[in-house]
């Protein structure tokens, strides 16, 4: 028997970053808001405090803050026609669980997307011609431009106290920043981080090769800073325990530090923890969402009526929730019709290592999540793709994020995997190796999508979501081309040995790559090819909205959080200034 709660104006599915943003803004606009979070509450004090937070086994290896897949997971297959099987353990990506979501235990690498990414299809056609890419490259324009989003990027970066060196202020290229970024209206609110030894060696070699190195933009904040709401953020201490840890120092921008206190202080806002949302309820006649059904902490099925529903869950959870709720037309890879689940994308990651064989001390444990030096010369808008046969790109960086030794013990190729040779190699190379990473874009393909599994169910008896994904040909070409450039920098860094980690032949759900899952409920200009309009409002139910990287039509060669935050403030603005005054579709198809 379903328990029925008192109606609220807004139900938020999830209690992470976008829920914190919307919860605060909508509660202050006078709306009653409840956020339904599947996990529990956790705060800087007492939960994240030292020394117990510095536990690699508990947090990194056993995934204390990540989704519990014994309750709900997804199934996975590489290609249409293969039997999808459940992801029985976490691996490739780590969705968060608990208040604050992944933005509580992220690294803090906070990049804007280049302007070209938002108009990728029309930009590529104009620049390279219509025949440049084949039909399997289903890139799209977002329905929003960088120029429209820029004020929201700027605001989100102020909220989070982002620290960095600007590269382009109102069209003027700035020394020391990223010259390939879009124009920003203001500098970063805080100066860049210190430079690690890894970053120094990388930057020196990159500059010698004619590239333009700069410090990575960081949510590991570099000085005492008060954000526009009055939240105090403290300076990063470079402890080397960012992702997947909570920050003990109030120094890594997170919902808990920057936003949530102001939502929780508002009587219009409630964070309801241990509430697992099963589906969105909606009226088939009126075409509006009526609320959400969830399982509460006691295990009861509860209906929360709401005038507006916002999906603020992790990237692939949002489209899967829409499929479970039978909202919109599910994407079908056979006919290539339907929208929900379409254009699932990821991130194309490769790496390289430079071994100094004891000649340099890197001290990899003097680290922070966004402590890095990067070049953006090979992001999508930075170079000419003519004759290369692919679209996209990404940045190359030397991050010094951690020396935690269960996972960080680099050894050269050809080293035995265990035994005396391995042990001695680990000892020799642990403190004398620099790791580089290529953070590449992910281009949609008609066979890569999210659906509902026909066989496996979750703890609530619902079908699991099903992921079909492999690296598209476009991205293989892209990764090879830019990984070669990265290898050239690695070569120039003066090591004794180097190794290059090329893209695997097939995507695997097993090794950790990144938690930058994107797409499946994409934004756009046409209801036939997108799930939400440019304001992140559902084409099907005007009072249903989708936040997060679920809405990216393709993933750029950058980390997604800055764009996720900017889009949430952009959508909140549309809700408050337009929608609440006159509820209905903000864009006519």
């Amino acid at each position: 028997m379903t328990v029925r709660m008192k109606p609220v104006d807004v139900a938020l599915v999830g209690g992470g970053l976008t829920a914190a943003i919307l919860g605060k803004e909508l509660a202050e606009a006078g709306q009653t808001v409840v956020a339904l979070e599947r996990g529990g509450m956790r705060q800087t004090v007492p939960d994240f405090q030292s020394p117990t937070m510095h536990d690699e086994l508990k947090y990194d290896v056993r995934h204390a803050y990540a989704q519990d897949v014994s309750v709900q997971t997804i199934t996975f297959r590489n290609f249409v026609g293969q039997q999808a099987l459940p992801m029985r353990q976490l691996g490739s990506f780590l969705p968060g669980e608990g208040v604050g979501g992944g933005a509580t235990h992220w690294n803090g690498q906070t990049w804007r997307f280049q302007p070209e990414w938002f108009v990728l299809k029309s930009w590529a056609e104009q620049r390279y011609g219509r025949g440049f890419l084949d039909d399997d490259v289903t890139i799209q324009d977002w329905g929003i431009t960088y120029e429209e989003l820029e004020p929201y990027y700027t605001f989100f970066e102020k909220v989070m106290g982002i620290s960095g060196a600007p590269g382009n202020i109102k069209g003027q290229i700035q020394v020391g920043g990223n010259p390939f970024e879009g124009p920003r209206s203001e500098p970063y609110p805080n100066p860049p981080m210190k430079q690690s030894h890894s970053g120094f060696l990388f930057g020196q070699a990159a500059a010698q090769l004619g590239y333009r190195p700069f410090p990575v933009p960081s949510a590991n904040v570099t000085r005492h800073y008060t954000n526009p709401f009055g939240a105090e953020i403290k300076p990063c201490m470079y402890c080397g325990f960012c992702d997947p840890f909570g920050c003990e120092h109030f120094a890594k921008a997170s919902p808990q530090v920057c936003i949530l206190p102001f939502a929780l202080a508002n009587k219009n806002f409630e964070m309801r923890t241990h509430s697992y949302v099963l589906r969105v309820e909606w009226d088939r006649q009126a075409k509006v969402a009526s609320g959400v059904t969830y399982v509460d902490a006691q295990g009861r099925e509860v209906f929360q009526p709401a005038s507006m529903v916002v999906l603020c869950a992790f990237a692939h959870h949002n489209p899967i929730l829409m499929l479970q709720s039978r909202i919109g037309q599910p994407y079908d890879p056979e006919t290539r019709t339907g929208t929900v689940g379409r254009n699932y994308t990821y991130q194309t990651m490769t790496g390289a290592e430079v071994f100094y064989d004891g000649e340099k001390r890197i001290n990899p444990f003097m680290a922070a999540g966004a402590l890095g030096t990067a070049i953006d010369d090979f992001n999508n808008g930075s170079f000419d793709h003519s004759g290369l046969g692919f679209i996209g790109g990404g940045y190359i960086a030397a991050y010094q994020t951690t020396g935690r030794p269960i996972y960080h013990h680099p050894v050269p190729e050809g080293t035995p995997r265990w035994g005396l040779g391995w042990k001695q190699a680990v000892r020799q190379h642990y403190n004398s190796t620099v790791s580089l990473g290529f953070h590449g874009s992910s281009i949609p393909h008609p066979n890569n999508y999210l659906g509902v599994d026909p066989t496996y169910t979750d703890a609530f008896g619902q079908p699991l979501g099903m992921l079909t994904y492999d690296f598209p040909y476009n991205d293989r070409l892209m990764a090879r081309y830019i990984t070669e450039k990265m290898a050239g920098i690695a070569q120039a860094m003066g090591g004794k040995q180097m190794s290059v980690g090329w893209l695997d032949d097939h995507y695997s759900i097993v090794p950790y790559q990144t938690t930058h899952n994107t797409g499946g409920a994409i934004m756009g200009t046409d209801p036939k090819t997108s799930v939400v309009n440019r304001y992140l409002q559902s084409w099907d139910l005007h009072n249903l909205w989708v936040m997060g990287s679920s809405v990216f039509p393709q993933n750029a060669g950058y980390n997604p959080t800055d764009t996720v935050g900017a889009l949430a403030y952009w959508a909140a603005d549309a809700m408050i200034k337009q929608y609440l005054k006159n509820p209905g579709p903000l864009v006519q198809p």
Binding site: T73, N78, G177, F250, I406
Partner: protein, 247 residues
């Protein structure tokens, strides 16, 4: 074009001396008390024969050498035993519902129906049975080191076929857990005396390097601390300048 990287060559030329960093205790010196015999704590999961197998196997995966003890001395047996007796061994946070497709491609990940505890129990029993029938009735732990390595390599490659599970899955689990036990915090029963950390120079649970991060090539020699080191905890609290009471 401007070079946008600050010049830190000066820092490279003047590495800060050890004394400026903290207490003297070079990480690169031999580990203290290495002459002590391996200690075995109470076993929660393994029986004595399973324990002999695991102790012998992990010592081949991370062996002792003339300078640094290996996994047996570091207590990796006790680490794995406690892990298997607790949530990890029981398959907590694993999706364990069927149906089962044990011969799935590697890209789809672990697809066996066993919890880690079950995987060890069966993997050990079947590996022992393989050894006794192929090595004149001897147990794994009675084989010489080169022969033990041969058996482990055959598990790793799948050259040995175990009746109930793919040998490489058992081997990879054992290897991963051995590395965890050698490098994880000592509070979990392995990494005795922080030997894994001392060997590579990882300082453990320190909370800040802000003043050191730009001193390139710094010989960092402060002894490591464990999260269970209550003295270190107090020192941390005494020196901690943040307002820990902030809500």
């Amino acid at each position: 074009m401007a070079v946008t990287v600050p010049d830190h060559a000066a820092a490279e030329e003047h590495p800060v001396q050890v004394a400026q960093v903290g207490r003297q205790n070079a990480l690169s010196s031999p580990p203290p008390r290495a002459d002590l015999p391996a200690e075995r704590g109470m076993l929660f999961f393994f029986n004595d024969e399973e324990a002999r197998f695991v102790d012998a196997a992990v010592e081949r995966l991370i062996p002792s050498d003339s300078e640094w003890p290996g996994a047996a001395w570091a207590g990796v047996l006790n680490f794995i035993d406690r892990q298997l007796a607790a949530a990890y061994g029981a398959g907590a946070r694993m999706y364990l519902k069927g149906p089962w497709v044990p011969d799935a491609p590697p890209q789809q990940g672990y697809q066996l129906r066993y919890t880690p505890a079950q995987l060890y129990r069966i993997g050990i029993a079947e590996t022992r049975a393989h050894v006794t029938s192929n090595y004149s009735g001897r147990e794994f732990w009675d084989l010489g080191a080169p022969v033990m390595d041969e058996v482990l390599s055959s598990l790793e490659s799948g050259a040995i076929e175990l009746p109930s599970l793919p040998a490489p899955v058992f081997f990879e689990t054992l290897l991963a857990n051995t590395i965890e036990g050698f490098f994880g915090d000592p509070v979990y029963g392995g990494n005795r005396d922080m030997v894994g950390w001392r060997m590579v120079g990882f300082p453990g649970a320190y909370a800040q390097f802000i003043d050191l991060v730009e001193l390139y090539n710094l010989p960092y020699t402060r002894p490591p601390i464990s999260i269970g080191d209550t003295g270190a905890r107090q020192a941390y609290l005494d020196g901690h300048t943040h307002d820990a009471q902030r809500q």
